[in-house]
Assembly symmetry: C2
Homo-oligomer: 659 residues x 2
């Protein structure tokens, strides 16, 4: 059952698709006070799931989280905000229920931080809609919530292939070399991503004519090798006379305004930019149609970046800062002045105060950005999604975004944001998956190998062994860090085998993805969702169930040659170093220490289940669905979903094959 409660005058976020009349009953579970705080007493056994793309564990207890979409590639244990705002929580314990706080502004979730046994939730502005969802169990609650927020985005089949990306592929030659080296190494590859380097001075919908003199030709050449190019699109539009996007936006008032009604000036990669006002339907339509500049060249996929929106600085704050720097550095700069100085400079980026200084035009009314901040990325993705349904009506376009709000899951996927080449970020990615799935974000994955900082051979191998199970499987890294294309490592062979195994698993992963999307289910579940009475399952933070058949328990610690695994039931351990040499072993329910060599993939098939396992392919176009075999317990069947992989509207009744 879903009950809806209104507080103040909520802004229509477009998060839900079903109109429910407000409840006349009292809000259950929570106590509320005059300050707008929602308080829930936590029992020792209570687990709090949810919050989507947030830091820390699957169980969110013990920290204060803030929903405020933020660009923070260096996120750590004490980070409070990341790229997405996913205000759905699921309390499981003495009482089990879901709660969605539909509010596009800043929200705090104190989940046992101030007091270990108390949850306190508060919106900065007390205008919000609260949905309370009860049901038979955790999965039933999630399913109802997912039905409320609408069906998840389904990408094209090729998006399940392996992708290579890097901020720093400077020109056509760099891109061709990546393709060539992967081919030479015999490692499958479906896509190469273009980061900001391809644009002319970071201007959206431009291509640098010197470095990419004929992008259309490059797209076609790559396509004949089975590789798709996936360019980035940023939120900010460069201020430059003669640049069509800039000029049109100004002419039609498509940009966000400052308090004086002038186009607001922020700065990102190109320096000074305006931000499209994606809350205006006309601006969305206008910006979205610009993608045709690239689809006309044969592009079939995009990623939307910097759409929290990230703001490196604003002109006003920069001027203040520079003048303050002069004052602070004039005399003997001691501790107070020094911290003020360095703090001001560090605080230019993503300064909360800057988000108070611009406005959206919502049906003629000026709405302060900070009141609706968390909707920006979602509406940028919506802009592209809706336009591309018109521009390319005959096929799905790959689409994923950095920033998001619940509702954005209908328009595209998200990647899990900029991360680091840290072992802890393998686990962090894994721990976000259940919360993201609850919030509808099924097409997702981490920057494999780590974006910032320098990766290592072993980190890359272990990351591959985890990421080969995630729908988005992309190796991505930042300019200035160690190059991490798989062919650069001594462990090339082992890495290549992991990618090949991915391709053997794609029929399974695609099936499970579509089942989850079409049935409003989770693809990645905490163990306790299927084993609710199992005490250990509730504690397990580093294993996940995939669909109804698999359990993953990746190694995510350096120099480890094995790990502890808890089996909530008897399972079949599957072990492979190459795609064609598979060792299986039945392990009983309980605790196990499992050896896992560095070059080895280990996963588990659930009792009396089996999965389809194919053969490697150069790319997804070459996957041979007739070569599938069942891997798992003998005598089992598997419901395989297979469609043409590109129809814009996947049928809800797909062909079901029993192998």
């Amino acid at each position: 059952m879903i009950r809806k409660y209104l507080y103040g005058t909520p802004f229509p976020t477009n998060a839900v698709v079903t109109d429910i009349p407000p409840s006349t009953e009292q809000l259950p579970f929570f106590e509320t006070d005059s300050k707008g705080t929602f308080t829930y007493p936590l029992q020792n056994e209570d687990i709090v799931y949810g919050l989507g793309e947030q830091i820390r564990g699957i169980n969110k207890r013990g920290w204060q989280y803030v929903s405020w979409n933020s660009d923070n590639p260096n996120h750590q244990e004490d980070t409070r905000s990341l790229y997405g705002a996913h205000n759905f929580i699921l309390i499981s314990g003495r009482q089990t229920f879901g709660a969605f706080f539909d509010n596009p502004g800043r929200m705090e979730f104190d989940i046992g931080y101030t007091h270990g046994n108390r949850m306190q939730i508060r919106a900065e502005k007390n205008d919000l809609t609260v949905y309370i969802i009860t049901g038979q169990d955790e999965k039933h609650i999630v399913k109802q919530f997912r039905q409320l927020i609408g069906r998840s985005y389904v990408p094209p089949f090729w998006a399940f292939g392996y992708g290579q990306s890097r901020w720093g592929y400077q020109n056509e030659q760099d891109v061709r070399q990546v393709a060539q080296q992967y081919q030479a190494a015999g490692i499958p590859l479906d896509s190469i991503y273009l980061d900001i380097d391809y644009m002319e001075r970071y201007k959206d919908f431009t291509v640098d004519p010197k470095r990419f003199p004929d992008l259309g030709k490059l797209v076609q050449d790559m396509r004949t090798q089975g590789i798709r190019l996936v360019p980035i699109i940023d939120a900010g539009v460069k201020i430059e006379t003669g640049y069509d996007v800039y000029q049109e936006g100004v002419a039609h008032n498509y940009f966000c305004k400052n308090a004086e009604g002038k186009d607001f000036v922020g700065a990102v990669w190109p320096g000074r930019v305006h931000f499209p006002d994606f809350l205006q339907p006309e601006a969305r339509d206008w910006f979205g149609k610009k993608y045709a500049v690239l689809t006309d060249l044969g592009i079939e996929g995009f990623w939307n970046d910097m759409n929290e929106p990230a703001i490196f600085y604003t002109e006003d704050r920069l001027a203040e800062t520079c003048s303050e720097i002069q004052r602070l550095t004039a005399g003997n700069m001691g501790i107070d002045e020094y911290f003020a100085f360095t703090g001001m400079v560090a605080g230019l980026n993503g300064n909360k105060g800057d988000y108070d200084k611009f406005y959206h035009n919502v049906a003629g009314k000026m709405v302060k950005h900070s009141d609706v901040h968390n909707l920006y990325g979602m509406n940028m993705t919506r802009s592209a999604y809706e336009a591309l349904r018109e521009i390319c009506p005959d096929k799905r376009t790959l689409f994923f975004s950095r920033s998001s709000y619940i509702g954005a899951h209908r328009y595209g996927g998200i990647w899990q944001g900029d991360n680091k080449s840290w072992w802890s970020h393998i686990l962090q990615s894994m721990q976000q998956l259940p919360g993201l799935n609850m919030a509808g974000f099924l097409f997702t994955g981490s920057d494999t190998g780590g974006f910032g900082s320098d990766t290592t051979e072993d980190l890359m191998l272990r990351w591959l062994q985890y990421a080969l199970f995630t729908p988005l499987f992309r190796n991505h890294s930042a300019n200035g860090t160690r190059m991490q294309e798989l062919y650069r490592f001594d462990t090339l062979h082992a890495a290549g085998e992991m990618v090949k195994i991915r391709y053997c698993l794609i029929p399974y992963l695609y099936s499970e993805f579509l089942k989850a999307a079409l049935r409003d289910d989770m693809m990645f579940k905490p163990l306790a969702f299927d084993f609710p009475a199992d005490h250990m399952a509730k504690e397990t933070e580093d294993q996940l169930l995939i669909g109804d058949e698999l359990m993953i328990a990746p190694v995510y610690k350096q120099n480890a040659r094995g790990r502890y695994v808890y089996l909530p039931e008897e399972m079949m351990l599957v072990r492979m170093q190459t795609w064609d040499q598979i060792h299986t072993e039945i392990l009983p329910k309980g605790h196990h220490y499992v050896d896992v060599a560095l070059e080895e993939l280990v996963f588990f098939i659930r009792q009396q289940k089996a999965i389809p396992f194919g053969r490697p392919a150069r790319n997804t176009d070459c996957i041979d669905h007739s070569a599938l075999q069942l891997l798992g317990y003998p005598g089992c069947t598997y419901e395989l979903y297979a469609d043409n992989g590109f129809s814009p509207e996947p049928e809800t009744s797909l062909s079901v094959t029993t192998l």
Copy 2:
């Protein structure tokens, strides 16, 4: 056997105490090349121990470390340098040997980073002494190395008590309140630390007369409550006319000079400072004698901070930066200028280039600081240690430092540097202990609860359950973070019990500390050191042996109510929530999942061993050694070391009691 090899003209670091003639044989194990790189091929089974206070695991494989003493409270997986330079490594595997690279400048240890199966070590300047140590096993190699570098510092007995610290105790009232609240809560306390707040505008050897109008009286009042005050001393000396330390240092040329022979100007807390030239014996003697200002008031312990030395900025670089900021911010500041701008400001702190700009006077010769950088903190501690042996000849003074080099372990302890309230920093502290012990640093511990960032109740409890085993047991936090004195939490009772259990364990911990110090042994050992044939013991990264009797396996993950523990032999599990209710259970060798409630301490007593366990005491003065009981396997004896706890030179033949 120890062999010594000279390269170039090594600077005398004072790290070793035994003069060994250089070997005439070829350097074993390593290949060397003309660039001064020492290369060793790593086998799969090889473990590389050592590097003391460095990041990552007990096994250092898989990263590139840089010995360059650095102030980095936000250290993460990709940090390369921390507060200490401890260039001792111990390779264990196909060949087992130790190697000490005695070099006071910058050194790189690429331990399977560039290539997973290769170790490459290189000093920036190829003037160094290399010691190669071989022996019967890992422990024998360490013992020989420890004998080479001389006996470890032994603090007074009271230093094993619990200490409360915070940067932010602003005045006498704050300090009195801490004492009072601990007393009211019934939690033992031996010391309260004074951070930079007690000084007059951050000037060493001054006391702010407004905020601490009578420090001597405060010291005495606290002392009658059994509490010692432990003030901080910083490396930089404020430039201020009339300030005696500054004026004397200038007059006698006791400060480091710039290339023009003028006193070098850096900046830290007080703003502009000079750095005492601790490499001059006269300067060491002069600065060390200044501690009498505080010992005269009854102070019996100190901590030395900022002695890497940390440099917030130098005047020259600040001026350059400000002028560059003007240029960069003048036009449209795009990506390149923005990163240059923010990078310059962030790069002011600890800028490597600044360490090239000042000089030490070594027997009349000017030595560039960066060539001897890693010796600075050690010589600051030496300065205090040697002077205090004269000033307070009748007792040991508590002494620990942030920065260190091997050799500093003879003069004082170290704390494990500024850290964060992160769960990962519990494990990080634990993983540093074996390497620190190898390098002679026995008196050490982490900032319990975490220094930077906001702690949580559960993090504090879990941290206490680990830190109550470390010699230095201090709760410390930074200004601006959540207050974390134990009486501030709902979990006050459980936290208090953990501190009481610490006091019950002090007779054991003090004994094991002194045995390790006097016998040149390690107090904290990796499991594999005692179980060298055990494959799992070699992999275990989150358990440690203490002495010959204990094994610890703390819980360091949020929301975990248990953990996996590997027992390399049968052991007795000890479980307690209060000091006087002890549950024990014999567990067989092998893997176990052990439940550990949040309020619960669990540790292990080794097979056929027992430890002395006493009763809680308000402070160490009140510990009743006659109340000790044996805890562990029946019929066992224990060698108890007990002395008066303050004699400056502990006897090597202490009284040995068999309980």
